[in-house]
């Protein structure tokens, strides 16, 4: 985290990128729906869009992890310290995301209306039946957990290879699998195994479009999914560190 604070320019760039993404979402909502969206709606449009999660948000995660010193070679294998670092980087990422989104909404929307906790248009998100704020909180938690998993896995690969930049390929791999898995294998309905399905708030379709028969599985399953993945990486980390300690 100290490393990240030293690289203020990276934080500024990340903030600007998030602002740009928020602006794109807001312009999209204005153009297609003809409404002035609230900060919550803009945030949800960005955090729920597959294309945004897989590409610009992944690139920004790459940038912020780089600023947080994830590429540094660790002399000692300290799984818990690296997990703490991954959590802090992910929190910084999410906080910047929220700040940038709110800041842009404040700049462009009426202040009284910015934090309105009601839906200004009907969509897949509003049909869930929860308030925008509550859905935002769930979305923030899901993105946070996805980022913790990604950053922690990057740390694991970097530590295993003892080289700085191999771990970052895991982010490309996750993106590739998320984007292409169902499309390439021609799987009609989602199996609930992809990270993207557990990051988005709404149903993620596979090859066939969404129907009433198939809806998104409960959010607690997504939380369990992420906790399991992070747990698996942690266990691998502990096993490797114990093995290396024995050898040394």
């Amino acid at each position: 985290m100290k490393e990240l604070l030293k690289n203020i320019w990276i934080l500024v760039c990340v903030f600007l990128f998030f602002m740009g993404i928020s602006a794109e979402s807001m312009h999209y909502l204005q153009a297609t729906r003809g409404i002035m969206p609230t900060a919550f709606e803009t945030f949800l449009l960005t955090s729920n869009e597959t294309h945004f999660i897989l590409f610009p948000l992944m690139y920004i995660l790459l940038l912020i992890s780089m600023g947080g010193g994830i590429g540094e070679i660790q002399d000692k294998l300290t799984p818990y310290k690296l997990l703490k670092n991954a959590i802090l980087i992910s929190i910084a990422y999410v906080v910047l995301f929220i700040f940038a989104n709110t800041f842009y909404a404040l700049l462009t929307t009426d202040i009284k209306y910015v934090f309105s906790n009601t839906w200004s248009y009907s969509s897949e998100l509003s049909s869930i039946g929860l308030s925008p704020l509550l859905i935002c909180i769930i979305s923030i938690l899901l993105i946070l957990m996805r980022n913790i998993f990604c950053v922690y896995t990057v740390s694991l690969i970097n530590t295993l290879t003892r080289k700085r930049h191999w771990g970052f390929w895991i982010l490309f791999l996750i993106t590739y699998i998320d984007f292409s898995f169902y499309r390439m294998l021609h799987i009609r309905y989602p199996l609930g195994i992809l990270p993207i399905e557990h990051t988005r708030i709404t149903y993620t379709e596979a090859l066939l479009p969404s129907t009433y028969e198939y809806s998104r599985f409960p959010y607690f399953i997504s939380f369990i999914y992420w906790i399991l993945l992070i747990g698996i990486v942690l266990i691998i980390f502990i096993l490797i560190s114990n093995r290396r300690r024995k050898h040394s």
Partner: protein
């Protein structure tokens, strides 16, 4: 026979794990795309068609990693990227071989695309000889060239990918020389490629002004709504940025070297540092 630094650098880079990995990523992504497309989409088995299908927009992994690959493959080249801090870069500047090393990195960045694409082309020519009809996917600004001569199109396509690779390798190397950090050199061009357009889009008037030079589709020659001049402008912008950073880095280190020489002269004259 004594090899020149340039040839030695290029040959050495070809043997590194990073180069093999970069080469492998391209090959594997193309094979994966082709196998799945042939299995499920029943595409025509013509060499040229397969080559285009495998390397163009259907290949997501290649599209998203294209700006980082040319820099990644020269990262283990024992020259610029071996410098761990600014002092080592200054020492590197003293050796007066910066330009040769930059050219080496650009050549490595170019070579990864040329070699892998040629490998794929030869493989599909051997496995599926002959060209079968027109490509099923849309081919953007070179569609007339493709209609006239598919062979020439392939040649231009490989050259285009190589130039893009060279441009991003130049940008990455310049970033390393300017900031002294490998991670910046590796990922800033990628973030710039993937996210800069978002910032530009946030300011519509500004977006109109810089539409042509905003890197968005540099590697993608299959986009039907992107004109050729935009693609050329994007590549030119990346090259100009790389050269500008290289010059800034040279000026910065030149000043530091001069200061260092002055200080040494001062010590020799007065005995005070």
């Amino acid at each position: 026979m004594k090899k020149s630094a340039y040839i030695y650098g290029v040959l050495n880079a070809l043997k590194t794990w990073e180069y093999c990995f970069g080469f492998g990523v391209i090959i594997i992504s193309v094979i994966l795309t082709l196998v799945l497309k042939i299995t499920y989409n029943n595409i025509e088995h013509g060499a040229i068609n397969l080559f285009i299908t495998g390397t163009m927009e259907g290949n997501v992994l290649l599209q998203i990693t294209a700006p980082v690959l040319p820099i990644f493959v020269c990262i283990n080249n024992k020259s610029i990227f071996a410098c761990k801090n600014k002092n080592e870069i200054l020492t590197f500047y003293k050796s007066k071989r910066v330009l040769v090393q930059v050219l080496t990195n650009v050549t490595i960045g170019i070579s990864v695309f040329i070699l892998s694409f040629l490998f794929i082309l030869f493989a599909v020519l051997i496995l599926f000889p002959g060209s079968a009809g027109g490509a099923e996917q849309q081919i953007g600004f070179f569609k007339e060239l493709y209609a006239a001569s598919p062979t020439l199109f392939i040649f231009v396509y490989i050259i285009h990918a190589a130039i893009c690779g060279g441009a991003y390798a130049l940008l990455g190397t310049s970033l390393k020389l300017l900031f002294g950090r490998t991670d910046i050199a590796l990922f800033v061009p990628l973030v710039f490629y993937g996210c800069f357009s978002r910032i530009v889009d946030a300011m519509p008037i500004f977006a109109q002004m810089v539409y042509y030079i905003t890197p968005m589709y540099t590697f993608d020659i299959a986009s039907i709504d992107v004109p050729l001049e935009k693609n050329v402008a994007e590549i030119a912008f990346v090259i100009i940025m790389g050269l500008t950073m290289l010059y800034s880095s040279y000026r910065k280190h030149h000043k530091l070297l001069l200061n260092h020489k002055e200080r040494i002269a001062n010590v020799e004259d007065t005995g005070a540092f």
